[in-house]
Symmetry: C2
Subunit: 327 residues, 2 copies
């Protein structure tokens, strides 16, 4: 089984490729919940929905998130009634949030309702939240500590990011615990590889790594961790990863990524545009390979996933590592 | 100033007529909140919205509630995602509930958000909730004690009604208190008449009368209370009032209405079809008058309101009454 750690758009696209080349029992997509929040009285899980919609073939491909053929009647009505419209929820998308919110209020877990929603959307592969507990990313910036969506959507990532932390509500006060499916993967021995999807390392992957026991699990791994670079030629394909890396004093390069994920990643799949980085990565003792990593359509996603899965079969199991610690 | 006590459709239609013939400062429409509830994570106030939409000229006239030119994309999406669709919330209507819910969560009162919503909908006259406190109608039936919308919408009023009670949350544990605007009318001396709109006496008006101090206010009144009959020729124009009266052992007649509101009403405006009841009412010491009370369109509403307002000017102030007590 391959465990894919995913954020939103980039992760969703790679996960969709993996779902094309792996049968359902051989893939577990674990999705970041750090950007979950409550809006308009509803629980919104942007990354989870992006992955679900993408795997269902229902995503709005032009923007990478939301549902295709979306309508905006509610948003217009909210605007007319004087409400907040900085976070745009579409009419079709609202169906998901309504059902999730009702189920959560009825006492079901986010994992349970996600299974049901994914089934309704016809997603055969397992898409699970990273945690069923509160685990909200707080973005510390030059404009203060901001809730994630306030930073990401309302302020369009304009404030300078200093670091992120997590507002967790695990019983006992520690970090939030992985969801049951994620925890089972962590506890079991059925994991053949972990794939870190080309998602924002700081905003999307770090929340996953901050969950209770995840770093320790990866540090003691007997399977390879393969990361797909979210950068192509020094730029993020989508989103603010390059800007944020700059604010942290890092270049938006594969080398900086390898430094960020030091000790957690065994193998890097980078874009052809970043072939220059292959010797750098190998000099750090990492496996490295290049291909066209642009996940622009179904065919490309399938192709990258195929390259990745073929490569994973060839990779040797790693030696046990010390716990890695991204800066 | 005339204070109109209103439920949903029938009350909204008379209130719209009154708003045509009275300037804003001479009308206060106090709307039942007993059927308010939370659905899809949102606070829904059906009667309040029906009155607001009707006064705004935005109501769906064919059904009497909801917004005209409504769309149902969210409802369809909720159905597809496996959610509850027994209460149909339209896309445009959802804008109202979203804005209200957000404002209530931000700590504003229902009265405050209603002022703002009414302003946004272009309603010049004052439409106010009966209370800002929790005051939910519980319908006791042969199928048990039911939340109002469970009884009214989900079960389509099929269970046999025995009585209603109220789940109130006033500080101190008593009945919920009137909203500030309603309380000001109660405390002041500016009320020239109270109009009980042709709303369901049990489900719509009784919740208003059950608020703290309302019965005592009416019992000691020095202004006339004028009721417009919700029955025409032994039938309710709309809704289950006749069925419920039957279940309470009453006929759906003006005579039974007068008995129900005994001591609270000074004057009855009934439909021409119920002229027979005029002597019965007068024999009880009540003023009584008949006209065509069908509020089918704007012209009819204006006409009934004009008849009502002209009549109110002629009515003598009542003698102080004993507190009336509907059975």
């Amino acid at each position: 089984m391959i465990v894919a750690l995913s954020g939103g758009v980039g992760g969703a696209r790679l996960a969709a490729g993996l779902a094309r080349v792996l049968p359902p029992e051989q893939l577990l997509v674990v999705v970041n919940d750090g950007d979950d929040f409550d809006h308009w009285g509803l629980r919104v899980c942007p990354d989870l929905d992006t992955v679900m919609y993408t795997l269902a073939g229902r995503v709005d491909e032009s923007q990478g998130w939301g549902l295709a053929d979306e309508r905006w009647t509610v948003l217009e009505a909210v605007a007319a009634a004087g409400g907040e419209t900085w976070f745009r929820l579409g009419d079709r998308d609202l169906g998901t949030h309504v059902v999730r919110t009702e189920a959560l209020r009825a006492g079901r877990t986010l994992s349970e309702v996600t299974v049901e929603l994914a089934r309704r959307f016809g997603v055969a592969h397992r898409v699970v939240p990273s945690t069923d507990e509160r685990h909200r990313t707080i973005v510390h910036t030059d404009a203060g500590a901001l809730e994630f969506q306030d930073y990401f959507v309302r302020r369009r990532c304009a404030p300078v990011l200093e670091r992120v932390s997590f507002d967790s509500a695990a019983p006992g006060g520690g970090p939030a615990r992985p969801s049951p499916a994620f925890a089972a993967a962590i506890a079991g021995d059925g994991v053949d590889a972990v794939v870190i999807c080309p998602s924002n390392p700081v905003l999307s992957v770090q929340p996953l790594l901050a969950l209770d026991g995840v770093r320790a699990w990866l540090a003691s791994r007997r399977f390879p961790v393969v990361a797909v670079s979210p950068f192509i030629g020094g730029r993020a394909v989508k989103g603010p990863a390059a800007k944020i890396f700059g604010e942290l004093g890092l270049e938006p390069s594969v080398g900086a990524l390898a430094q960020w994920y030091d000790g957690l990643v065994d193998a890097w799949l980078v874009d052809d545009a970043d072939r220059d980085a292959l010797p750098v990565l190998r000099a750090r003792g990492l496996h490295a390979r290049a291909c066209d990593t642009l996940l622009s359509d179904d065919e490309r996603r399938r192709e990258v996933a195929r390259v990745l899965c073929d490569w994973i079969r060839e990779l040797p199991p790693p030696h046990p590592h010390d716990p890695g610690r991204p800066r």
